[in-house]
Amino acid sequence: MTNPLYQKHIVSISDLSREDIELIIKTAARLKQQPEPDLLKGKVIASCFFEASTRTRLSFETAVLRLGGSLVGFDDAGNTSLAKKGETLADSVQVISSYTDAFIMRHPQEGAARLASEFSSVPVINGGDGANQHPTQTLLDLYTIYESQGTLDGLKVALVGDLKYGRTVHSLAQALSKFNCEFYLVAPSALAMPDYIVEDLEEKGVVLHQSDDLEAVIPECDILYMTRVQKERFDQTEYMHVASKFILKASMLANAKSTMKVLHPLPRVDEIEVDVDHTPHAYYFQQAENGVYAREALLALVLKPEFE
């Protein structure tokens, strides 16, 4: 039987059903346990990074190589026909997709992956399009939550830091809303979760708690998802005041559930002190590693019809 993601574009997390997400997680777990070094043998994958993103690119490229596939592409759009000759993205995508079996792309403009999916003859996998979507980050987050908790259902998840501009937390909240999770939104008021996301979650019946007290939330949650409070959003004095309230220290974890895990999309700056790294709650480096397995799973599913 053909798997439901075969030859599908992976543009937005909202395109994926609960069943799709469960299939990707199950596949990622399987590939982590049982590597398949020849799975993509003979497949050529385009890795086109129109803007820099070291971790996402290396993670994708590692996933392709670990499955035995080959890569073509670029990590600097400044040296491509788009920049040098004014070619449209639509034309670039049509040509590159005619050479390859799948098209991984990152682009600084919002909607670039959706547009690419309309011009590509092979599956497009969105590695981030501007401030819009980064579905593979969300999938690796979901896989990591599943791996660390044994389920995605009914968890209490605290989202901390920049909830206003952070597409990572927007997508994660939207995806976890399919799994009856409860959220603690912990942010300075200037960086609160946008109304349209809150309204969307409330319409789905999701229980939300808004707070700016990180320490009070820690004993309640199963997952503490930290993000960076961006310095450029505040003046220096205000930043020092605000940021200090959202810095996680090992001492703050004393009353956490024993199974509670701290996640972070990385890179961190100073929002998680290094003493947290040595606690059993730290899980952000495993999370980054899981990016490879989540991306392996996606590639396997979109390119291998009977892979389940």
């Binding site: 639509a90 919002e110 909607g111 670039a112 819009n132």
Partner: protein, 157 residues
């Protein structure tokens, strides 16, 4: 002076009536009517019983479809559309918000890819009731950048 004498009757085509005064030219441009090669009559600031002043557009030789009529619901919800054949009104459309809208408005997000690539803009439209005021709130979500905007922001951009 009667209204019929101000804007000549047409044999076949479409009359968009009761357009808010000042919106007629915008509607011509939004619906790309001026480039369709048809004879068009625009009346501006005509007297209206209900609205004081109104604009009116008559397009000869072009029968509007229901989809085109629904596009108008976004920026001229009080307008009426009469399809004319042999000087008779053969169809009158009731304004309804469309579910989607293609190629009429640009995305207000300046970083949206649809602004500089060979694609038409495309919005998903939803109509919700505000929990605070009870008013109808029309939202338009761009298919490409996935951002949601109020109707007013999209129409004004």
């Amino acid at each position: 002076m009667s209204e019929k004498l101000q804007v000549e009757a047409i044999q076949q085509g479409t009359v968009i009536d009761h357009i808010p005064a000042g919106q007629g030219i915008r509607i011509l441009k939004r619906l790309h009517l001026e480039s369709a090669g048809k004879r068009i009559t625009v009346g501006m600031n005509l007297p209206s019983k209900n609205h004081g002043l109104k604009d009116i557009i008559k397009v000869e030789g072009r029968m509007f479809t229901e989809d085109e009529a629904h596009q108008l619901a976004l920026f001229a919800p009080s307008a009426t559309i009469n399809v004319i054949d042999d000087y008779e009104v053969v169809n009158k459309f009731t304004m309804q918000l469309p579910d989607t809208l293609e190629g009429v408005f640009s995305c207000p997000n300046t970083n949206c890819i649809s602004l500089n690539e060979p694609v038409k803009s495309f919005f998903y439209i939803s109509n919700k009731t505000s929990a605070e005021s009870g008013d109808s709130v029309v939202k338009m979500r761009c298919k490409y950048c996935e951002k949601s905007f109020s109707k007013e922001v999209v129409v004004a951009s």
